[in-house]
Symmetry: C2
Subunit: 389 residues, 2 copies
């Protein structure tokens, strides 16, 4: 396999972008990434676009060629492929783009992620996001994504003594980080009291335990590592791109406090890269709900099962800690445009590894991890990204 590197990154602001269309934000992120990689559109070999639900949200399927078209690239010999895997759509698009470059058929491809979620009423958007859980076994009975993650949280509290306050710390952490990120949806600081006192969504999760619905787009340019010269001074190598699956419905799992797909994807990612969790200096992990981040820390191997709550309280995941979590602010505070998240995670890690993250720069990071999840974990995708020595 050819080695693959990230040569350029781009991202729009995340938030309620009511004055901008889906195609506009997709193009903005993609062109930023191309310019960052010192490529013209003539060099483009393909587009792999992560998106969860443009059909339901915007009455528009077939969106990958739509973006190309409005970028002035119609009539070209290149694949424009939309990839969907619920909330993991962006990371799966990255996986597909990575395979495309690794195969040798394409040299330079853009991997984008885009979602426009705030043009429809919240209840419509929530119904659509819940379609990433099992419709026949969960959703028809009234389960939504927050309800399902609420069950995970209750069980985690029961089994391991995780507390309401420990959950809330994740949201406080994310908002503190997002304060340093000009692209974030929510940059306001939160206190533990605010998070714990917010209206309940699905006990024990309150409104501030749940990532928002956002509009936004992110993009990266991938290319062969050995063709990186001239495009970037610091090509970021994709050391591993691994995907694993689990049951769609929570009820079909041996345990609801372990996301088996994350365990499996992470184990294979570290094996492929010949690295260990302790080598990771900075990570963007799934924090769609505060409980999601605690479970992810455990399943990725950063802490022992059941220990994430107390470990989080030690502050070791802050900007100057041994492992900095979600310096972008994560889904909770940077925002959650579903299909864009997995790509935005990589954008953040690349900025960190290049030393371009400004106020939120992590010192001395050479290995970063991204972790994106669909539904309640039927899909998990783990990427390891490495700065050359």
């Amino acid at each position: 396999m050819r080695e693959v590197a990230v040569l350029g990154v781009g991202q729009t602001k995340f938030g309620e972008l009511w004055d901008r269309s889906f195609r506009e934000i997709g193009i903005e992120a993609g062109l930023q990434a191309l310019v960052d990689a010192k490529l013209s559109s003539a060099d483009l070999g393909g587009l792999f676009l992560g998106n969860m639900a443009s059909g339901s949200l915007l009455d528009q399927e077939h969106i990958a060629p739509l973006i190309l078209d409005y970028a002035g690239l119609a009539g070209r010999h290149l694949p424009a492929v939309r990839v969907e895997g619920g909330g993991a759509s962006g990371a799966l698009a990255l996986h597909a783009g990575y395979l495309a470059v690794a195969s040798g058929q394409y040299d330079f491809v853009v991997v984008g992620g885009a979602e426009k979620m705030t043009d429809v009423p919240d209840e419509t958007a929530n119904r659509i996001t819940s379609s990433t859980a099992d419709h026949e076994w969960e959703v028809v009975f009234g389960a939504t994504l927050p309800a399902l993650w609420g069950l995970v949280a209750k069980r985690h509290m029961h089994d391991f003594g995780t507390t309401r306050e420990q959950l809330a710390r994740v949201a406080v952490h994310d908002h503190a980080m997002a304060g340093k990120n000009p692209l974030a949806h929510y940059r306001n600081a939160l206190t533990l009291e605010q998070v714990m006192g917010a209206g309940e969504v699905a006990e024990p999760l309150g409104m501030l335990d749940c990532a928002p619905l956002s509009d936004g787009a992110a993009a990266v340019v991938l290319g062969p590592l050995d063709m990186a010269r001239g495009h970037t001074d610091i090509p970021i190598r994709i050391a591993a791109s691994e995907v694993a699956c689990d049951t769609m419905a929570l009820q079909h799992r041996a345990s609801v406090t372990t996301i088996e797909s994350t365990v499996v994807a992470a184990r294979h990612a570290f094996a492929r890269a010949r690295r260990a969790p302790a080598d990771v200096r900075v990570a963007e992990i799934n924090d769609a709900y505060t409980i999601s981040a605690l479970v992810a820390l455990e399943d990725l191997g950063f802490v022992e099962k059941g220990e994430a709550g107390p470990e989080f309280a030690t502050g070791r995941f802050g900007l100057t800690g041994a492992l900095t979590l979600n310096p972008s602010g994560g889904m909770k505070a940077q925002g959650r445009p579903f299909g864009a998240v997995g790509v935005a995670q990589v954008v953040e890690i690349v900025k960190q590894l290049r030393g371009e993250a400004k106020d939120r720069q992590v010192n001395g990071a050479t290995l970063g991890l991204t972790h994106d999840v669909g539904g309640t974990g039927a899909t998990s995708v783990v990427h390891l990204l490495e700065r050359p020595n």
Copy 2:
């Protein structure tokens, strides 16, 4: 790049499968393909699933891991990736799966295509299929896919003298073929008079010029050509897998009677395979509307621009002609479960090249072509499939 071959195929009946769920038909096709390739599910490296609109049609996104789950493969280290590109979703999934095997990261993958379209009212399904055209520039003004292809037909008649009867011959041909295909949605013969006398949908296209909405699934197993031994006696090599794009909206094209994406994809496919259109003995091409097939014949290079109507009337595309078209019955008669079509085309060509097509077997075929289109041609995908000497 590693050479990639088709090692197994599977397909459900196409039609109104009201007693069977999406997950059931997906699993049936996939397991058939695995069995055909003498593989157990333990050998599976990944699933790439073409599907246009399960979110809008079934309130279920995130369907690739859903299929894996119900096939008993939860908790596994493998990518389950849904690929969407309107009506070209199946062929794009094949392209993604092909790249995955070519890359060397995966050995054996299933490429599936599935769509369940008849559980909703026809007007809902028609609205959803039209979301593969440009929503902001076409659909909001009332354009639907048949209306847009009707415009193409009118212009083709104006520019080249194509007649109503020549269009109708495509439907008659497809139904004659489908009579020999037990999996086809419509196996009844049609006369020219029936097609020309059917109710108008979008002038000049009548009801029998338009492919139906169908339920159905198809699957193939891809693997490295050099690992084919033991899995099949006749590995069918993918000699080319090429994708090209065009504008989403018809009105933005220099000509509406040429699908530029098809011209470009075909040219690159023949160049990669070092073959010419005259080498192709059997082809499954886009016949979503009768006019689509005539335009495709021209754009793929099988006939000169404007000559498809008269050439079709000569009968040279029949079972014993020099180039047999759509022996499965095509979308018009085998049926059109959108995301399954591009995979079903490959299933048919593989059966033909292996000599397993029974009543509809084409003699002496060693090179076959498939051609799948999204919307009115914003995406075209061309595959060339070759039987070893």
